[in-house]
């Protein structure tokens, strides 16, 4: 039996007309966790970077049957190089044991604002964008859509942006990449209408608290985005935001892992 006081309040506050049936899926507005003011970021580098990469390679070989999509990171010039969503999810699992994590889209924007790292000339993944259960990446798209529907999120109208930090990785021989993404209790995902195809090549300078662009025709950064399936979300070498790329396994030596170290982790 509903609380009568709530119903009385609803009667008092309601508009005259009943609301029209919703044509868009519900858009829950969630509040992402904050960064602490003194947050600092660093590339995965030095002895620590080398150790993490060694552990990463061991886990990739042992737990993920040496899946090729994970065999993309290298240690060169004293820094870990390479970036794709699979590798970053696994890296994040290792880093969280050290009370660190890979950066989120919001972290990357904050890092750019603070100017702590020179990110220009490098790229790095931070999320996935799910727009439909179709291609590209139909298998993984369907898999993620199913998991999201269990959490009340419909897929189809507005793109869903899923942060890599907070995802888990599963060996999955049915997947074209032998890997699939798993939502966890700490996964962060939101509807992201900014990433609709109609916003392709729109300019921006700054981002909102979710790391999504705040469009500004006078901006000097560009969003690249398009419809369909499951795509990557990464900061490109020109500091643009790319939600266009559908090659989830691709990686090259311009890729860099940006890490939030202890003291910069989300508040507990």
């Amino acid at each position: 039996m509903p609380n009568q006081r709530f119903l009385d309040t609803a009667k008092r506050w309601m508009n005259k007309e009943a609301p029209a049936k919703r044509v868009q899926p519900a858009t829950p507005i969630s509040q992402s966790s904050p960064l602490i003011n003194n947050a600092s970021y660093s590339f995965l580098e030095g002895d620590f970077g080398r150790q993490v990469l060694e552990e990463y390679n061991q886990i990739a070989s042992k737990d993920y049957q040496g899946a090729s999509a994970l065999n993309v990171l290298s240690f060169d010039d004293n820094v870990v190089k390479g970036s794709n969503p699979f590798a970053f999810v696994l890296l994040n699992k290792i880093l969280t044991q050290q009370k660190m994590r890979i950066v989120t889209p919001a972290d990357l924007e904050r890092c750019l604002e603070k100017g702590e790292l020179d990110l220009k000339g490098t790229y790095g993944d931070s999320g996935l964008v799910l727009r439909s259960e179709n291609n590209p990446n139909e298998y993984l798209a369907k898999n993620l859509a199913l998991q999201l529907s269990g959490r009340g999120y419909g897929v189809g109208d507005n793109p869903v942006m899923i942060q890599l930090a907070g995802l888990d990785l599963r060996y999955d021989s049915s997947s074209p990449h032998d890997l699939s993404f798993q939502l966890t209790g700490s996964s962060q995902f939101i509807y992201a209408p900014q990433l609709e195809h109609k916003n392709n090549q729109k300019k921006f300078n700054n981002a909102d608290e979710n790391g999504l662009p705040v469009f500004d025709s006078g901006g000097n950064r560009t969003l690249y985005t398009r419809d369909g399936g499951l795509r990557r979300l990464y900061r490109s070498r020109d500091l643009d935001l790319d939600a266009w790329d559908d090659d989830l396994a691709d990686s090259d030596s311009y890729g860099r892992v940006v890490v939030c170290a202890e003291g910069t982790s989300r508040k507990k």
Binding site: N3, W13, P28, I29, S30, N37, N38, E209
Partner: protein, 456 residues
């Protein structure tokens, strides 16, 4: 829409202006609906209208006590020297006997039990200076009396009804005690009495012996009042004679250009304030604030004994230790209504609530170290706790968005659920509320609505 009858508002504003221009010189630091005020004087005025409890923080000699004395004197028609005489100054040795009442020693020797009530208790409007120099147990004695307007000692009691109460506190030093959360929760609002600016200080500094206060003093009536208070007469007689003294003092004040609030005026104001409704935005923002302070998807509700977690997102609940209280919610309503009334508005609007709420909450909030760290290096005009409270109840920052920002983002969804429920579409309302709740990551208001709709 402005009320057609604004005479009482004019009287109150006249008193506010008089204190601000002649006695407590200060700078405006508070704005609501385009009107600017000094927060100490405004909250003090609203405390007088509400018969509330107000805490004044500040530096030594920063005007905490004097502002309270002027407010109590001017709004209640009490000679300023009487207000000063009946106020209590906190010290660690203060006992109930020194504050509330003591045995009548003469009668005690004759085997009779009787109580001599202290002046502090007998005079309605009260000031407790340096409140935090008193141990916590005695702080509670005072606040219990103030809350109920009833004072007990031995087997006797007197009642003065609800009355405005001001307590001053220096910032923490070796000579004072902390104020524990249950004590802080008893204060409706808190303000900081601030540096008034160089020009005002140059003027204040010329007032060698508080000469300006002479206009509010009345030594003859004060002596008369003290005689009445010491008379040992029944309380009803004491109160009636005090009322006569007040009226006599008010007449002299009227002759000096002060407007006077009669007992009837105050009753009328109280009635008008009480019936001032909230408009929809104001009440919904209030609902969002209450939900953020009291709900926890992880632990069922917010509790001081549970850890603070950001697992479900950075809502206000994730920024402080403890929870909301029913007292603070009542304080927000009363003070927002009083401000709306003072501004001559028919309804409490969003600005009234949003501007008043930080002053109701900042002394009660126990921000987590992480929250304090996020703000401690900010440029600011307010004490840190008030600065954080204003920010997080408002739009917040890029890193830590505030309640008002989230209200703006989620109000449309909330209104949909309200409309569906209001039009009897319970299943749809419940389904959408669950979707917006997003397994505890959506706004806490939706978790609360789900519970209401499910009747759990």
């Amino acid at each position: 829409m402005a009320k057609s009858e604004i005479k009482l508002q004019d009287k109150v504003k006249g008193l506010y202006d008089k204190i601000g221009s002649d006695f407590y010189l200060s700078r405006d630091d508070f704005e609501a609906n385009g009107e600017r005020y000094n927060s100490t004087l405004l909250m003090g005025t609203l405390t007088e209208l509400n018969k509330g409890n107000m805490l004044l923080f500040g530096e030594y000699g920063g005007g905490k006590t004097t502002s309270a004395e002027y407010l109590q004197s001017v709004f209640n028609g009490l000679p300023l020297d009487l207000v000063k005489r009946v106020a209590i100054r906190g010290n660690p040795q203060l006992t109930e006997e020194k504050m509330v009442g003591r045995p009548h020693y003469g009668k005690m020797h004759q085997g009779e039990e009787d109580v001599v009530w202290q002046h502090f208790v007998q005079v309605g409007p009260k000031i407790f200076d340096e409140f935090n120099r008193m141990p916590e147990s005695n702080q509670a004695v005072v606040l219990n009396g103030v809350d109920r307007g009833e004072w007990n000692y031995l087997n006797d009691f007197i009642s003065t009804g609800a009355q405005p109460f001001f307590a001053t506190c220096n910032y923490a030093d070796k000579g004072n005690n902390g104020l524990i959360p249950p004590i802080l929760d008893r204060f409706d609002v808190a303000v900081e009495s601030r540096f008034p600016g160089v020009a005002n200080v140059l003027h204040i500094a010329q007032d060698y012996h508080n000469d300006k206060d002479k206009v509010l003093n009345n030594p003859e009536l004060t002596r008369k009042a003290l005689g009445v208070l010491n008379s040992g007469k029944p309380q009803a007689e004491v109160q009636a004679e005090l009322e006569g003294i007040i009226q006599e003092h008010e007449k002299s004040l009227m002759g000096k250009g002060f407007s006077i609030l009669s007992k009837e005026d105050k009753e009328k104001i109280e009635q008008e304030v009480r019936v001032t409704p909230f408009d929809r935005d104001a009440e919904q923002y209030f609902a969002f604030l209450v939900s953020e302070m009291n709900t926890s998807p992880k632990y069922g509700q917010k509790r001081s004994i549970d850890p603070v977690t950001t697992e479900n997102g950075l809502y206000l609940q994730a920024s402080f230790v403890g929870s909301g209280s029913r007292r603070e919610e009542k304080s927000i309503v009363r003070y927002a209504k009083s401000l709306a009334w003072l501004q001559g508005q028919d309804e409490v609007n969003l600005d009234h609530v949003a501007q008043v709420a930080p002053y109701v909450l900042w002394h009660r909030m126990r921000w987590t170290p992480e929250t304090e760290n996020a703000f401690k290096d900010n440029d600011r005009n307010d004490p840190l706790d008030l600065h954080i409270t204003k920010s997080l109840l408002g739009d917040g920052t890029g890193e830590m968005p505030g309640v008002k920002k989230r209200f703006g983002e989620s109000q449309e969804n909330y209104q949909r659920v309200i409309d569906l429920a209001g039009h009897g579409k319970m299943n749809e309302a419940l389904r959408e509320a669950k979707e917006y709740s997003a397994d505890g990551r959506g706004h806490p208001i939706f978790q609360d609505v789900v519970k209401d709709l499910e009747g759990v």
